[in-house]
Amino acid sequence: MPEPKPTLTGKAAVLEALPDHPAILAIHGWNAEAITDAKFDRGELALTISKDEIRGACSALMAGGYNAFQDVTAVDWFPSVPRFQVVYHACSHKFKDVVRLKVLVDEGDATVDSITPVWPGANYYEREVFDLFGIRFEGHPNLRRIMMPEEWKGHPLRKDYPVEGYR
């Protein structure tokens, strides 16, 4: 049984407890203001990044040893404000670790900078988030629907989209 890991909430607590974490070193060293919130829970580090800094944060993370892109997805916290949370996962082969970055997005301005220029692999994942959540990615080379038919109305993974029946 692995020893239980403490849960740390808040930027100050995480920075104090994990000053040597490679992901924190990479992003905090690049721009100390970019991290707005942090959480260490169940052995996983999640950093909330301010919306305008995500592309830079991903570059910094890649330079800091997180070489393998994993995943982009989103969570709809309807009816909370801000409504959406875009989630990025990056894996480091060197540190054998996965880090999670989060960006909070408002429904009124559901736009985030695309990270496809940093990680070309994010291309399809961002298209999927756009298709199923309706979040737009600025600077994406080919932002079209990927799963649903092109003429589809609505975004199925939003919480106000019904599971059954007609939309």
């Binding site: 990927i146 799963m147 599971v163």
Partner: protein, 408 residues
């Protein structure tokens, strides 16, 4: 609601890459093409026989599994995960179960962990067998298909024996396993893995020395290690590009750290390297299975958590408390503490990741499945650009795509 961008086939919107547009031809391949392994549609821009650009059009198999998960109890999601990567159901069950167990902070008995490893490796062999048979068939070597499906039949019978289902097993569940393995199960697995290395030699004899097969595979579908990492490619395709990383070894789960096995890596970066890596992986899986059989610990196969795991049938019919738990779990599900986790495992195709968000209720708030074929498909254009149209079929076979896990 944001407005939709312009729709239409991208090749017709973007100006031609090089040369005059008139000399280029747009060719549609699929979605019903036999070599596209499902319903994959490729739009190819070709100059004579040379591929200039390639756009995969996916979504024909989209069933909204992630949306459906949000409407089900945690235990009801398990059968849905079978249907995502339908060639490796146990690996899907395992990834999902590990993620839920991480949320619950549940300790799993050792025997269950070892059985999970055993079944996960058998699933990997199953997945690789289908890849080998269909890949060889795409190249024109029809015979191998019959041999690999002969061994796959043995494996499916093993799965049927242990779970009652050949393909959609739902055997690995949050908290442990569904049932004790039946009498004679371990002997049957032993017989299979004793005989299997000879069978790999048999496939190898048919293919590795076959000049037609070798010439079709060597030097095509080049993907550099940097490209593989940038495009999110994982698994055997990444390892065939010289990146030495395997989740089983480097971020072990389900007591994989107790097993000794080699991770095949090749620096050739081509379709042939992927073929060789997967053949070696099958041999290594056999070794892991043998270690799991030899050292199989005794003990329970489910965690001691009566409010999460369904009680035994016998207990449910004789004990009041077990009956109450059974009723509660079936009708109300079990609450999972709020939080979010990401669990990666190594499936037959590469790195599978389950991202689960819980709001504290009995249904997952969000389940996101990261499947390797989705990322691999992005690398298809890089691998095929500037090469012959006929090689596209070999390259698709080499990345071993399953449309079920791409479209979800």
């Amino acid at each position: 609601m944001p407005s939709l961008p312009d729709v239409g086939t991208p090749i017709l919107q973007v100006p031609a890459a090089e040369g005059s547009r008139d000399q280029h031809m747009v060719l549609n391949m699929g979605p019903q093409h036999p070599s596209t392994h499902g319903v994959l549609r490729l739009v190819l821009e070709i100059d004579g026989e040379i591929v200039v650009r390639l756009y995969p059009e996916i979504g024909y198999l989209h069933t909204g599994i992630e949306k459906t998960c949000e409407a089900k109890f945690y235990q009801q999601v398990v059968p849905l995960t079978d249907r995502v990567d339908y060639l490796g159901p146990m690996n899907n069950n395992l990834a999902y179960s590990l993620a839920v167990e991480k949320l619950l902070e549940l300790e799993i008995p050792e025997k269950a962990q070892w059985l999970r490893v055993l079944l996960s490796e058998l699933t990997r062999i199953n997945s690789h067998l289908i890849w080998l048979g269909t890949h060889a068939m795409d190249i024109g070597a029809l015979t191998v298909f019959l041999y690999t499906f002969r061994e796959r039949e043995d494996l499916l019978r093993i799965f049927e024996m242990v779970s009652g289902q050949r393909m959609m097993t739902s055997y690995i569940r949050p908290g442990g396993l569904a049932l004790e393995p039946p009498l004679g199960f371990f002997e049957r697995v032993q017989t299979f893995i004793t005989n299997f290395p000879e069978k790999i030699d048999e496939y190898s004899n048919l293919l590795t020395g076959n000049p037609i097969f070798v010439n079709r595979l060597k030097g095509i579908g080049h993907l550099s290690g940097e490209d593989a990492l940038a495009l999110g490619v994982t698994g055997p395709v990444m390892r065939a590009s010289g990146i030495d990383f395997d989740v089983r070894r480097d971020m072990p789960y389900s007591s994989y750290e107790k097993f000794q096995f080699a991770v095949p890596v090749s620096n050739d970066c081509d379709v042939w390297a992927r073929y060789v890596c997967r053949l070696v992986e099958m041999r290594e899986s056999v070794k892991i299975c043998q270690q799991a059989l030899d050292g199989m610990p005794e003990g329970p196969i489910r965690a001691d958590a009566p409010k999460i795991i369904l009680p035994d049938r016998e207990a449910m019919k004789t004990q009041m408390e077990a009956l109450i738990h059974h009723f509660k779990i079936v009708t109300e599900g079990f609450p999972v503490p709020a939080g979010e986790v990401y669990q990666s495992i190594e499936s037959g195709h590469g790195q599978v990741g389950y991202y689960i968000v819980s709001d504290g209720g009995p249904k997952p708030y969000r389940v996101h499945m990261r499947y390797p074929s989705f990322a691999d498909l992005q690398a298809l254009e890089t691998m095929c650009q500037g090469r012959l149209l006929a090689d596209v079929v070999a390259v698709i076979g080499s990345i071993d795509i399953v449309l079920g896990e791409i479209d979800r």
